[in-house]
Amino acid sequence: MKKLARHRLFWPIVALLTLIVVNTIVRPSFISITVKDGQLYGVLIDILRTSAPLMLVALGMTIVIATRGIDLSVGAIMAVSGAVALTIIDASGDPESIATVFVAVIAALCVSLVLGAWNGFLVSVVGIQPIIATLVLMLAGRGVALLITDGFITTVNSAPYSFIATGYLLFLPVAFLIWVAATAVVSLIERRTALGVLTEAVGINPEASRLAGVRARGIIFGAYVTSGLLAGIAGVLYSSNIRAADANASGQFIELYAILAVVLGGTSLMGGKFTIAGTVVGVLIIQTLDKTILFLGVPPAQSPVFFAIVVIVVVIMQSPRLHRWIRGAASSRSRRDSDTTITKEVASR
């Protein structure tokens, strides 16, 4: 077991620590944490706080990817969720009331659940490819969000609502506590019940799982519902942070970053074994990298370039061709080439 942890989490954690160390050398204040009015402050704390939306989305994405699927609609679900919540608060007479905020959040989460279930239905019942099924919502979802907000960027002033993203509890940011709680809950459900193992079985070998009597349909459906719900929470957090429902900016590109986080953490895009801890590290790497880029003075709009490079490097490193090339340099024989895609079975006849 230890050997496994060494292999899978080792490099991601090393990468994260390296980033932190490099940053600290350049800017020693990077790791300083101060306490003020019973609240912790510092760059590291900030990273923990602002990583909340991506963390939640990446969590859901991990489970979906484990089933050999993908969820491209998470950004759109975030937008809808924020729109629902803020519209309710805005329309109520009493934006400062905790009850209103409570209702708004619950409503937003319910809508997100429904959207996730819609995705799950398309993939597991109708049998549409996950990319395509979630593409539909990715397309239409932002339109729906815009409709809900009547095309405007709805802003509200609601202290209880803002508290969600910017508040503190027990020295720590509430946003941080939210994602820690979500991670804990998901991990418990996946690992304490048999859900995790069955999900992995479905992702690794769907046919063998079917013959063994595993209920793939329900597992796949649940994965998309989970992803939708978590995206909904992320949407609430995001809109709480900017105190507005911006249907276009909300969660823009977040699906890309989420996929990147999952891949960085060690879960394969091909499905099967997944690691939630790996995704957590992956998200932290992305957030730290983001902060580093910002600190370098690069305008935030240009940061996608860096991430593109990271994605390219990571996928090349994971590509079988590179492994073959390395192995081929070690031994002179290379039998499996582009010609031999037909030849998966060795001595099957």
């Binding site: 993908i70 398309l122 109708v126 049998g127 549409i128 490819q129 990319i131 395509i132 099924a133 593409l135 539909v136 919502l137 990715m138 397309l139 239409a140 979802g141 932002r142 339109g143 729906v144 969000a145 815009l146 409709l147 009547d150 095309g151 249907a247 276009n248 823009q252 590109f253 890309l256 996929i259 895009l269 305008p299 709009a301 240009q302 940061s303 996608p304 370039v305 860096f306 991430f307 593109a308 490079i309 994605v311 390219i312 996928v315 090349i316 590509s319 079988p320 061709r321 590179l322 582009s338 010609d339 895609t341 037909i342």
Partner: protein
């Protein structure tokens, strides 16, 4: 099934004619459906608003969506091979702002425009190489392309850059009119792109290889076709179309703007799918994608006529897309069952 097994000669009967037609051109059905939808939309709008089907409006339909036509052409090539290109909107923005920037620095237009096309081609090449030689899934590879292009657009300039170059503006401002209809050089460029694409796809070996790959990459390879080169090439084509669309959009709006085209790739994909191209590859027509873009444009116009919010466009397109995909899936499932 067996009754149509080896039709020897077409007999004169209607049934046999229909049978032969279906055997030859079944893949045209989705495109016919798209045309039908377009006609229904146009007629419906005319009945509702009374002044919808004017030459002015219809000419504007082409003009407003010229950039999307070009994007859809490039996207068709990629989707025919069974891939997908999510970067085209960002490539369009990047090349647009790149061109605007070059022009504003006094670089002559006959260098700036090729530079735009080259920029698009390079990003397409990157994606193609990742897909073909590193076995990266197309949507991840093109996602990386999206990131790259979008970031580069902002690297070129954080703000929009106006274009004053007369040659570029000429593309948009010139109107060749006949009767109430008019056409601009941008529309001509878009339609020429469509025509070239049709020729390439149906009369060159490269184009047939594109279809063959979509039908079965392994089979195409075993039949001796150059699969690797073709697969990379379709992404380059899509990139070049992105560059061309950048030119058209820059001419249209008179400026380069790094925030352009966010989400436009989805519109292009929707147009292509609605136009009858299967996302699984191998079936589809560029002319169908043109129809798809017209459907998109018509819906947009109808919504603006209705005074409703533009966000409805996205929703309706999304629903249409879903409908087409579900129907495609049903058809595919049925034809698989027929064969076994």
């Amino acid at each position: 099934m067996t009754s149509l097994q080896t039709p020897v000669r077409e007999t004169g009967t209607l049934g046999a004619r229909y049978g032969t037609f279906m055997n030859r051109r079944a893949s045209l059905m989705p495109t016919f459906a798209a045309i039908a939808i377009l006609i229904i939309l146009l007629i419906g709008a005319q009945l509702r608003f009374g002044n919808f089907l004017t030459p002015g409006n219809l000419s504007a339909l082409l003009l407003d969506n010229a950039y999307l036509i070009v994007l859809a052409v490039g996207m068709t090539f990629v989707i025919l091979t069974g891939g997908i290109d999510l970067s085209v909107g960002s490539v369009m923005a990047f090349t647009g702002i790149l061109g605007a920037s070059l022009l504003s620095q006094g670089i002559p237009v006959y260098i700036a425009i090729p530079a735009m096309l080259l920029g698009g081609a390079l990003i397409g090449l990157l994606i193609g190489v990742l897909v073909q030689y590193f076995n990266v899934q197309p949507f991840i590879a093109s996602l990386a392309g999206l990131f790259l292009a979008r970031g580069l657009a902002f690297v070129v300039s954080l703000a929009s850059i106006k274009v004053e170059d007369p040659a570029v503006l000429w593309l948009q401002r010139t109107r060749i009119s006949f009767g109430g209809w008019y056409i601009t050089p941008t529309v001509i460029i878009a339609l020429v792109t469509v025509a070239v694409a049709v020729f390439v796809l149906h009369w060159t070996r490269f184009g047939r290889t594109v279809y063959a790959i979509g039908g079965g990459e392994q089979s195409a390879h075993l039949m001796g076709l150059n699969v690797a080169r073709t697969k990379v090439a379709v992404y380059v084509i899509s990139g070049v179309c992105g560059g061309l669309a950048g030119l058209l959009l820059t001419a249209y709006s008179g400026a380069g703007y790094p925030r352009n085209g966010i989400g436009t790739e989805l519109d292009a994909i929707a147009a292509v799918v609605i136009g009858g191209t299967l996302l699984t590859g191998g079936t589809g027509y560029v002319l169908g994608s043109l129809v798809g873009v017209l459907v998109y444009g018509t819906i947009k116009k109808i919504i603006s006529f209705m005074g409703a919010e533009q966000s409805w466009t996205q929703i309706i397109i999304g629903i249409l897309l879903l409908l087409f995909i579900v129907v495609q899936r049903v058809i595919v499932a049925r034809s698989i069952r027929r064969r076994t």
